[in-house]
Symmetry: C2
């Protein structure tokens, strides 16, 4: 297989290749009038719907490391993190605009892999990749993704809106992403050492990673919880406030409380910690609960709901009630398994937790 | 004046400062429900309107040089180049999402200047800056801007749609941006030399730049031609095809012809060359027409229109007719002042022109 650089295929050659990969996603948008190929993407908003939009900028060495991140997974994740923001508004994602800046030496085949990952994620969520921008980067790979979505105005859920007495609900489990990152970082160090000593990096070491795959997958290929948004719509259950857990449970709950003017009391024993994260924490003598609360990047949905509203969704085993919204004066607290209340906001970072 | 780094104010401190600067722009959007501060921006699309969206990624050392670009101008330009794409669809810009990645040493005051430039441009065009993302950059400054807009579907103008016999029309003048860049690059080299030899870089040298300001301004602070889009709407004059001149007249006309399946014949003596560009070309013994045709970044609108439609706008002195659309077989030609026809597509770059 011959590898071509972007310089060899040129900007328009690259755009042609990218267009061919993302074209199948266009069918997902019933309102789409024009995708890639003009100065703008063009679409009809659905009648009586409200538009939402979110954007994320991802840089090599800041947000990802190509030594530990397969480029196809990176493409999927770039789409997922933005779709997760749309889900956090209780809205349905529709269109994506994707820009990349690529170092001159970057092989075109890797850019195609990146877009194949985006295409796979777009298919998963039913969104259309309708436009973007390509350019050269002087150093690392840069990715910028903007996703638009829509919702009935009455359905849109903000960070504000939580009321004392509301239940604090969480989808899935936490800590997997942070644990996966720890394993990948350790693996990278081992690999670098082998390279330094001119030793082969054997496949047998890689095989060991299998038992960690539940956490590694959560880090490399997180899924936005669009399934939960659809479920909430089906049950006509309306959260009073919602956010996605990208910064970490402690910080993201803080955003809800600060926007809503409330406090919160979480129960440690209710927090669903990823089981692989527990396994990894035991091995590394680290703290899985710390990862769950401070790790971030799990892209689960954190929402609040009055008790009676929660009855509509109580049968869903993938949604845990982890605490309750309290008046602002009571602060944002975690009651640990010994009954001791810890101020979640006073914890600067979760390496220092406990 | 004390300078703070982004590390000192932190991500949320920075977001607070940015929010304060862009907040005045929110009033421009009648449909806006939520701007910066939640997971997404939220707005009502205007009834019966079609949405358009464009995005651009700008990197230090690739798209701009902070040694020759005041950071406030950079902010304005980042907005303008995206608004120009919206204008190229014959649409009205509405909302902007802005992401930045900043080197750790970058002073917060410079980021504020950057956003002040964006705010000024947003005010100029009547758009609201409704969201974005901020992060650290390992090397240079990175800017990503997405702008959405709206138009009646019947008004939207694509690159395709030009027909043989249509007039080729152009707003303003060309070549100013390329000429301005030449002057700024020369000035940077002089400055670098002075620094190398430990000599003072005197203000008296700067003063000479005044006579070039018509070109330098065109490079640093290009204005998207939203005024022309509004004028076309007022006159109910509909272009058959349109693009903004970002890559250069030759290449951008090529995009219209290739999308429309046509050729074109331009008249050299009709091409409006920026007068300061002519002055600078004389001084540098360079070719102003080459800059006009190949230079790019002038952000004028290039459109085609049937003769009878053009009658509605013929009194506008800021719109020049520079040629005519021809059948595809005739190619894309420029007839020079001696009557010789040159193939515009065969010219690889305009340093080689003539």
């Amino acid at each position: 297989m011959t590898h071509k650089t972007t310089a060899e295929v040129g900007e328009f050659g690259l755009i042609d290749r990218i267009s061919a990969i993302v074209k199948p996603t266009l069918a997902a948008s019933p309102g789409l009038i024009a995708g890639i190929g003009d100065d703008c993407a063009v679409w009809h908003p659905a009648a009586d719907m409200t538009e939402v939009a979110s954007t994320d900028l991802l840089l090599e060495q800041v947000h990802f490391d190509l030594l530990t991140t397969p480029v196809k997974h990176l493409g999927s994740k770039a789409i997922s993190v933005n779709v997760s923001d749309i889900c956090a508004m209780n809205a349905i994602p529709r269109h994506a605009l994707v820009s990349i800046a690529v170092p001159p030496s970057f092989p075109v085949e890797m850019i195609e892999e990146l877009y194949r990952g985006m295409e796979a994620a777009a298919r998963e969520y039913g969104i259309a990749i309708v436009g973007g921008d390509t350019s050269r980067s002087p150093s690392g790979l840069v990715l910028s993704v903007t996703v638009t979505g829509e919702a009935e105005e009455a359905n849109i859920t903000y960070r504000k809106g939580a009321e004392p007495g509301d239940l604090v609900c969480l989808t899935g489990t936490l800590g997997g992403s942070a644990a996966g990152l720890r394993v990948l970082t350790r693996e990278k160090l081992i690999m670098m050492e082998h390279i330094e000593h001119n030793e082969a990096y054997e496949g047998s070491i890689m095989a060991d990673l299998k038992e960690y795959s539940g956490a590694i997958q959560q880090h490399l290929l997180p899924l936005a919880r669009l399934d939960i948004v659809r479920f909430l719509h089906e049950r006509r259950a309306h959260p009073s406030a919602m956010i996605d857990v990208s910064d970490g449970l402690g910080q993201d709950l803080g955003h809800i409380c600060s926007a809503s003017g409330t406090g919160a009391l979480l129960q440690e024993n209710r927090i669903p910690v990823n089981s692989t994260a527990r396994l990894i924490a035991d091995e590394l003598q680290d703290d899985a609960l710390g990862w769950a609360i401070g790790g971030g990047e799990d892209y689960q949905l954190l929402f609040t709901m009055p008790h009676e509203e929660y009855q509509k969704i109580a049968d869903n085993r993938d949604i845990s009630v982890i605490g309750e919204i309290t008046p602002k004066e009571q602060g944002i607290l975690l009651k640990d398994i010994y009954g001791i209340e810890i101020d979640l906001q006073s914890l600067p970072g979760f390496d220092h937790f406990r």
